[in-house]
């Protein structure tokens, strides 16, 4: 060991750039986007095409669809790197695995979740969402998305290298998503009941959950990956 401190930021930046390139070039975004619109298309068939009914349900439906889209996107988060040995390389980096994990998840967030969020207003349009509801939907989704991706990564890391990992991840992660959905969709319902103002309380709790998972999830994810690689 030399006494020279290791520059962490360049490594994290390079990691983030690599992951983002992989996410964008790997074609992971398109299936997730397609999934969102397929869900939207199925809703009128299941619930009936009545526009007023769809308008009433649209905010909650968008939250559930977003949640399921994130679940779907988790599948490849660590699996490809596990298969080609990339995860072992992460473990060998001179920085904490937790940091590498955060860089990876940030790339996933920017490369997949943000585009999906950007598509949400269009999906809402198809569900005849009320124009006043678009902004609260986006605000609550944006506040909850970090929690969704962080908690989801715990499940993806635990199931890495396992047969039928996707299904197992869904089973593990769904209970963790319950509080996020409760405060996300619940806060949304409150905001829409009193139009023109956001429910600061629910949004605050949502942000709190996101912040807490931002700090508490990486150690769990790193521990799960270490357990999977040993």
């Amino acid at each position: 060991m030399t006494g020279r401190p290791i520059a962490m930021w360049p490594i994290l930046r390079a990691l983030f750039a690599r992951e983002l390139r992989l996410v964008l070039r790997g074609g992971h975004l398109l299936p997730v986007l397609a999934f969102v619109f397929i869900c939207v298309m199925l809703m009128p068939f299941g619930l009936g095409p009545e526009l007023s009914l769809l308008q009433r349900l649209a905010p909650g439906l968008l939250w559930v669809i977003m949640l399921m889209a994130v679940l779907l996107s988790l599948d490849r988060m660590f699996q490809a790197d596990f298969e080609d040995g990339g995860l072992d390389q992460l473990l060998l980096l001179p920085i904490a695995l937790e940091g590498a994990v955060i860089a990876k998840i940030c790339a996933h967030f920017v490369g997949i979740l943000l585009p999906v969020l950007a598509a949400i207003p269009l999906a809402g349009l198809l569900l005849n969402i009320h124009p006043d509801a678009v902004l609260p939907v986006l605000a609550t989704l944006l506040a909850g998305a970090p929690a969704l991706v962080m908690l989801g990564a715990i499940g993806a890391a635990l199931a890495v290298g396992v047969r039928r990992a996707g299904l197992l991840t869904v089973l593990i992660v769904t209970p963790l998503y319950v509080p996020v959905l409760v405060f996300g969709a619940g806060g949304l319902a409150r905001a829409l009941a009193a139009p023109g103002m956001l429910d600061v309380g629910a949004l605050g709790v949502l942000g709190l959950i996101s912040m807490a998972s931002l700090f508490l999830a990486p150690p769990a994810i790193a521990a799960a990956l270490r357990a999977g690689l040993r």
Partner: protein, 243 residues
């Protein structure tokens, strides 16, 4: 203090010593559990009908202890995993694995008896009440935990991964409870008063406590049997891998 902890971790750390102890305790534990259960059921049969609920109030004596055990078993899994992860007690992971299906079944019993009780009382099998919903989430946490054990072939890997999930789930349970309470009061404040019932009379309380002890003993007995099985299975694994 530290020395004490180390003594604790050394306690029955040798699986053979544990198996000897388990073999001695096993039958008496089962006999006591069945005996207390029989006594509890006898007490329940003597409980007077509730003036509002009639005979259906007796469902409570299965329902409430099952719900207690659903939470107790999960805490058991958490502390067993903690014992294994922190103090390296070799039986901790096996004990957590042995307890998981038992806890899941108690959770299912709580849900099913709750539905059977809810039908005559509330006029519906299921309501999206805070308590029902959080117990349903608990069931899915159990199922995910069990599925993770089953999905990973390598024992050491499975043990570490499931213990991480046990810790995460243990943090998650109170958060779910809190959030679902908030959600419930948001959507159906009026129905809560329908669930309110008068504080328990002694006629009901003592049989309930006896049934609670009976369910606890049953949990311990079943888990002990399953733990013995897990230790044997572990020995089999070692033998097979040794050729």
């Amino acid at each position: 203090m530290l020395e004490r902890l180390e003594n604790l971790s050394a306690l029955y750390a040798n699986p053979r010593r544990f198996m000897n102890l388990a073999a001695r305790v096993h039958t008496p534990l089962w006999l006591v559990a069945v005996g207390v259960l029989a006594f509890g059921l006898f007490m329940v049969s003597g409980v007077p009908d509730d003036y509002q609920q009639g005979a259906t109030v007796r469902i409570m004596f299965v329902h409430v202890p099952a719900a207690w055990m659903a939470l107790f078993a999960y805490s058991f899994i958490f502390f067993a995993s903690l014992l294994a992860a922190v103090l390296r007690h070799p039986l901790g992971y096996l004990a957590a694995r042995a307890a998981a299906p038992v806890g899941a079944v108690f959770t299912l019993v709580a849900l099913v008896t709750g539905a059977l009780w809810g039908q005559p009382m509330w006029g519906t099998w299921w309501v999206w009440d805070a308590r029902l919903t959080s117990v349903l989430v608990l069931l899915f946490i159990y199922l995910g935990y069990i599925a993770l054990w089953e999905a990973i072939d390598d024992y050491g890997r499975a043990a570490r991964a499931t213990s991480i999930l046990a810790f995460v789930g243990f943090v998650n349970v109170p958060i779910v409870k809190f959030s679902v309470d908030w959600w419930n009061t948001l959507h159906q404040p009026a129905s809560v008063s329908r669930f309110a019932r008068p504080a328990l009379h002694a006629d009901f309380l003592y049989p309930l406590l006896v049934m609670g002890v009976a369910f606890l003993l049953l949990f311990l007995a079943i888990t002990l049997t399953r733990l013995q099985m897990e230790v044997l299975r572990q020995r089999l694994r070692v033998r097979q891998s040794a050729g």
